[in-house]
Structures are given as structure tokens and as C-alpha cells.
């Protein structure tokens, strides 16, 4: 079962999921990318250069941190954090963009494009493009540009152009459509850096591989620090890249429970969440067959999440496979609980998590509370919350009864 889980049968497929459901115009570019990736994997110089980039640019390895005060507060399992929030640019996204920019250079392409929701992938792409002197255009929904204004500024400061997308719900899905349309006309000289383990083959595989440094490091750090593997590993799932990067090195460790947390939004009825696996079913979106949120005619459903990075009606095909094989359990965390988790972690550990990561923190706290103190729960803290602070302040002002709630708990 392990080998089945790890190697797709037909290339580009994870069980029945994945594939390349794209316009013919893009097929050649996907073939080129697949070949280039195989060549890069066989080239020790590529691995060496990627490794250098991860160290010198991203600042890896990221720390493993024992969240002692949080664990004490929860009163259950010991909670560890894999600190992807400490990476340069503030999230796990940089791992992928550095790898893909190196592939882009191998292909001799001079321009990169990306879609972004929370802006973290856009910032990470802009950063990698600046490091290597590539032209960079980032597509971003108008609603996300509002929610994540700081990241828009950061991208522009680094020389990227942010292209505003006004179609659909003006969020991540619509930005992805627009990036694909750009690529339809620019494939000859442009590489599309997809920001998650979604899209047509080979993207889900490439992005997972570039992100798997998270899980590999975390696994050996756990062995070193605690002398054993964690009992539970938790990560938030938007498209699923931080989760895939964290989970994949643990897939073969059958005793380790893997928990993916999707955006529960304001409730699990149509249009109010972004929980593609928990509430969706197999369908096709953005080039691959996976779990999607659609109406019965096959039209993509409207989605909602407090966090721009999870606000997406699809999920990577490998997650669909892990779900179907019962290797990973997928659950949801709603907007309110995520917001609560931001406050909890900030006060307990002095770490302000991204709203996306807060979904994982919330679910992990719940799971840890069910376990005894000899158990270990490891959280992928995918990013830091600086980008969200304005949004969080607004949201807290809305939920705060009298403002005293905050004052009372603080010391």
C-alpha cells in the first residue's frame, strides 16, 4: 500500500486523480516542464543549487519549536511547531518558488507569472524573480488585494507587476484562471509558477517535492529532539502545498496520524466554506481531477474563507488520493475558531500565525486536548500573520463584545 500511495500509477495520476485537463495549447509546455524536471532530478548540480537557495535565501532549515506554554494550556499532548513562518518572506511558499525559478532558468525562460490569494505565493515568486533577475507578473483577485494590501506593496517593491483580477468572486480561483489565460499566449517564453499542489501534471508532483523539505526536516528534527516520531501531524489545506510538503515524508510511517484542515468558513452549507474534500466530490478544475466544490451542472461553486489562502474551491489531486486511501483524515475549522487560534497562539507563545495556519493550530489544539501528555502533536505553522494584522484587527473589532475581552486576558 505504501508504494501505491507514493507512486502514481499512470504518470501524473494519484490513483484516479490528477491528469492534464488543459487546452491543447498548453500541452507542449507541460511536456517540456516534465522533461526538464526529470532532467533536473537526475542532475546533482540542480539539487546542490536548490539546497543552497533553501539555505541562503529561504533561511532553512526552519526551526522545530516546542510550544510549552500552549501545551500546558491545552493540557493534553505536547505540541510542536514546524516554523515555516520564520522563512524569508514569511511562509512555506518560498520553498516552491525557488525550486521553480531554477527550473525556469534551465528552460531558458525569462518571465514568470503566478496567481496568488493571500499574496504569500506572489511575494515568494516576486522574491525568487528578483534574486534571479526575471520579469514577474502576479495575478491577484481584487478582493484579495484589499484583504492583503501589505503583500501587494511588497510584491511591487520587489519589482513585480500585480495584475488585478475582477472576474468571478475576485479571489484565488479567478486569479488562477487569469494566470492560465496569460500562459496560453505566453508559453514560449514564460513559466507559470503555480503556488500549490494543484493544476495539471507535473505541477502537483513538482510542488510537493519542492515543499517536502518541510516534512523531511521536521521528521529528523522530531527524532533528534524527542527521540521519536510525532503521533499526529496537522497542516492546513488550501490547495494543499504546505500539507503535502509536511505529510509526504510521513506517509510511509503508518503509525503517524495525519490531519488536514480545510476552511470551514461560516458553515458547511453551499457557498459558505472552502472545504473541497470534506464537502465536495470528484470533478475537474484548473487542469486536474480532484475533489472540487461545484453545483450539479458542473459550475464551480462560490467559496468563502476568512483566509485568502484557503479560499479556493479545489484541492491537490494527491490529497484526494490520500483521502480516498484513508491515509490522511481531513477536517474543517471555521472562521471564528481560526480567529480564536490566532489570539491563543499569539498570547501563549508570542507567535502570530497567518490566518491560514491558524486553521491548523485550532484543529491541532482540539486533537491535542483528546490525548495524554506522552503524545506528540506536530503542527505545520505555514506562515506568519503580519500580512493579516489589519484584517484580524477589523475582524476582532467586529466580534469583540466590549473591548475588555482582550484586555482581561492580557497580562
Amino acid at each position: 500500500m505504501t508504494t501505491q500511495l507514493q507512486s502514481p500509477g499512470r504518470e501524473g495520476y494519484f490513483g484516479p486523480f490528477g491528469g492534464q485537463f488543459v487546452p491543447e495549447t498548453l500541452r507542449a509546455a507541460l511536456d517540456q516542464l516534465t522533461q526538464e524536471y526529470h532532467a533536473a532530478q537526475a542532475d546533482p548540480a540542480f539539487a546542490k543549487e536548490f539546497d543552497r537557495c533553501l539555505r541562503e535565501i529561504a533561511g532553512r532549515p526552519s526551526m522545530l519549536y516546542y510550544a510549552g506554554r500552549l501545551s500546558e494550556q491545552v493540557g493534553g499532548a505536547r505540541i510542536y511547531l514546524k516554523r515555516e513562518d520564520l522563512n524569508h518572506t514569511g511562509a512555506h511558499k518560498i520553498n516552491n518558488t525557488l525550486g521553480q525559478v531554477l527550473l525556469c532558468r534551465r528552460m531558458g525562460k525569462k518571465r514568470v507569472i503566478a496567481e496568488t490569494g493571500a499574496g504569500q505565493h506572489g511575494v515568494a515568486t516576486a522574491t525568487a524573480a528578483a534574486v534571479f533577475g526575471l520579469t514577474c507578473d502576479v495575478y491577484m483577485g481584487a478582493e484579495d488585494m484589499r484583504r492583503q494590501a501589505l503583500n501587494v506593496f511588497r510584491m511591487e517593491l520587489m519589482g513585480a507587476r500585480v495584475v488585478r483580477v475582477d472576474s468571478g468572486q475576485r479571489t484565488l480561483k479567478d486569479a488562477t484562471n487569469e494566470a492560465m489565460r496569460d500562459w496560453m499566449g505566453s508559453v514560449a517564453h514564460t513559466h507559470y509558477i503555480i503556488g500549490s499542489v494543484v493544476g495539471p501534471h507535473p505541477f502537483p508532483t513538482i510542488v510537493r517535492d519542492f515543499q517536502s523539505c518541510i516534512g523531511r526536516e521536521a521528521r529528523s528534527q522530531m527524532l533528534q529532539t524527542a527521540g521519536r516520531l510525532p503521533d499526529v501531524v496537522v497542516a492546513c489545506v488550501g490547495g494543499g502545498s504546505n500539507a503535502a510538503g509536511m505529510f509526504s515524508p510521513f506517509i510511509a510511517d503508518k503509525e503517524v496520524e495525519l490531519l488536514g484542515v480545510e476552511a470551514g468558513g461560516t458553515g458547511l452549507s453551499f457557498g459558505r466554506h472552502a472545504a473541497s474534500i470534506s464537502c465536495g466530490r470528484p470533478g475537474i478544475l484548473h487542469g486536474s481531477l480532484s475533489f472540487v466544490l461545484q453545483d450539479e451542472d458542473g459550475q464551480t461553486a462560490p467559496v468563502h474563507s476568512i483566509s485568502a489562502g484557503l479560499d479556493y474551491p479545489g484541492v491537490g489531486p494527491e490529497h484526494a488520493w490520500w483521502h480516498q486511501m484513508h491515509r490522511v483524515r481531513y477536517t474543517t475549522c471555521d472562521d471564528a475558531a481560526a480567529l480564536q487560534a490566532v489570539c491563543t497562539l499569539s498570547r501563549a507563545e508570542g507567535i502570530i500565525p497567518a490566518l491560514e495556519s491558524a486553521h491548523a493550530v485550532s484543529a491541532a489544539i482540539q486533537r491535542a486536548a483528546e490525548l495524554s501528555s506522552d503524545k506528540i502533536v506536530l503542527i505545520c505553522l505555514s506562515g506568519r500573520g503580519d500580512k493579516d494584522c489589519n484584517e484580524i484587527a477589523d475582524l476582532l473589532a467586529k466580534v469583540a463584545k466590549p473591548a475588555g475581552a482582550t484586555a482581561k486576558e492580557g497580562r
Binding site: 485537463f21 487546452p23 491543447e24 458542473g298
Partner: protein
């Protein structure tokens, strides 16, 4: 069921026998409403066009430019569904309409309905072909099988980026005609045809007897005429939909009249 009685196949056989080229207008089904679609089909049936492409609105058409996207969004906002579109086709056939019809539809929609169900319903309604712009050859085996069984022509697409050998492989599998995409890019009006297009079509025709039609970016009679020098048909989409958009407030008859006048100009 074979494809000998398929309207698209028969149409191109007749055109070839007469040594003629044709026009393939694309309209967004249900835009601005289903009554207009019905009226436009009747109009086109008498206008001497080859095949009408009925675009089934989709939320995420990655191969389409702003004009067709906007028409999809408007049609969906007005509540148009695939079944509603099939009903219009069914009524058109019941009233004796003989115009060959191909649905241009995302595989997301086909997959959600179920490949077999979708094909059966489309064939039963009176459609003759399917064009699935986001389904490359490598993923099309299942649809190919059911379409053949249901008597529907599955039209496959070739892009300027398609390698030579793959072009022939696609040509071998395509039924009804082969859709040659003139530009690497999305749909939308362009003023001129890329230079290589005609040479590519001519090369393709040396290897296949299946008719070849050219689409993406064709917007005026001059370009249609140019395409006809090498191909069996010219596909015009955004230019028609834009005219429908300009008259979106008019009656179905009026919009049908606008479309009819424009396609006659294109074929003049």
C-alpha cells in the same frame, strides 16, 4: 452507431463534393437568454453556414477571452443550465431544424454529469458534435468511446504549439472536422491571421481527409477569405458574441437578425 448519418459529417462531405468552404459561427448558448438562442439557430439554419458551435456557459473558461467570458457570466447569472440548452436544441430539431450543431463545452461540465449521461442527453436532444477545449487527446479516451457509440462527432483541437507527430495523432482521432487553433492564446478578435497558420493547415491536409477548420481570432470577411484558401471552414466566435452583446437589450428576433446579417457579410 457509426457517424455516416451525422449532420456534421454529411455537411462536410457535401461541401467537399461541391468544392466549397464554409463558416462556423459560435454563439454563447443562453446569452442573453434561451429565446435568443432559439431565434439565432433558426436564423443560421437559413443562412447557409456549415456548423453552429453552441458554447455552453462555464464559470471558469480558461481558453476564453473577455468577450466570451462576459457572455458566460451573464448567461449563468440569468440561470442558464445545460439541460435548458438541450431543451432549446430539442425544440429546434422538432421544428425541423437541420443545421449541424456542435456543443463547445468544458470537460468539467461533462464529467460532473457523467460522460455517458452527458453524451446520451446531448445526442438525444439533437446535437451532432462535441468540442471540448480543455480536454487534450491524452485524456479523451472515455469520451471518445461514448461519443462514437452515441453518434456524436468528437472534434479535437490542434494548437500552434502542438508537435508535428502529435498533430497527426490528433487528426486520426478527430471526428467531424479538426479544429486548428490559429494562435497560441485565448479567444478574442484579432486583425490578422498569423503567417504560419495557412501553411500549417495545408501541411495537415496533406495527411488527413478529415476537414480542417480554423478558429480563434477570426473577426472579419477578409480573414475568413484568407482561411478559406487553405481550410474547409472558418470559425468565428468573439466577433459574433460582441455584436450580440451590443444588442443584448433587443428582442430575440432582432438579435438573430444582427447575427444573420453579420454571418452573411462574413461569407459574402
Amino acid at each position: 452507431m457509426g457517424l455516416e448519418n451525422n449532420r456534421i459529417v454529411k455537411k462536410f462531405a457535401a461541401l467537399r463534393a461541391a468544392g466549397k468552404q464554409t463558416l462556423l459561427p459560435f454563439i454563447t448558448a443562453g446569452y442573453p437568454n434561451l429565446e435568443t438562442t432559439a431565434a439565432v439557430l433558426r436564423e443560421l439554419d437559413g443562412a447557409g453556414v456549415g456548423v453552429c458551435e453552441l458554447g455552453i456557459p462555464f464559470t471558469d473558461p480558461v481558453a476564453d477571452g473577455p468577450v466570451i467570458q462576459a457572455s458566460f457570466t451573464a448567461a449563468l447569472a440569468a440561470g442558464v443550465t445545460t439541460r435548458g440548452i438541450f431543451d432549446v436544441v430539442r425544440q429546434f430539431r422538432r421544428a425541423g431544424g437541420e443545421l449541424p450543431l456542435a456543443a463547445m463545452v468544458s470537460y468539467s461540465i461533462i464529467f460532473r454529469h457523467g460522460v455517458e449521461t452527458f453524451v446520451n442527453e446531448a445526442a438525444e436532444a439533437g446535437l451532432d458534435g462535441l468540442i471540448v477545449p480543455d480536454l487534450p487527446l491524452d485524456e479523451s479516451a472515455e469520451l471518445e468511446r461514448f461519443a462514437a457509440g452515441g453518434g456524436l462527432a468528437l472534434v479535437l483541437l490542434i494548437a500552434p504549439t502542438t508537435p508535428a507527430e502529435r498533430r497527426l495523432e490528433i487528426a486520426r482521432h478527430s471526428r467531424g472536422f479538426i479544429y486548428y487553433i490559429s494562435v497560441a492564446g485565448i479567444t478574442g478578435e484579432r486583425t490578422a491571421l498569423p503567417e504560419q497558420t495557412l501553411a500549417a493547415v495545408a501541411e495537415l491536409r496533406r495527411h488527413t481527409d478529415t476537414p480542417v477548420c480554423v478558429g480563434f481570432g477570426i473577426s472579419n470577411a477578409t480573414t475568413v477569405r484568407e482561411v478559406w484558401r487553405a481550410a474547409d471552414g472558418a470559425i468565428v466566435g468573439s466577433a459574433i458574441v460582441k455584436r450580440m452583446e451590443e444588442h443584448a437589450g433587443a428582442t430575440p428576433q432582432e438579435i438573430a437578425g444582427v447575427v444573420g446579417k453579420f454571418v452573411r457579410e462574413l461569407m459574402a
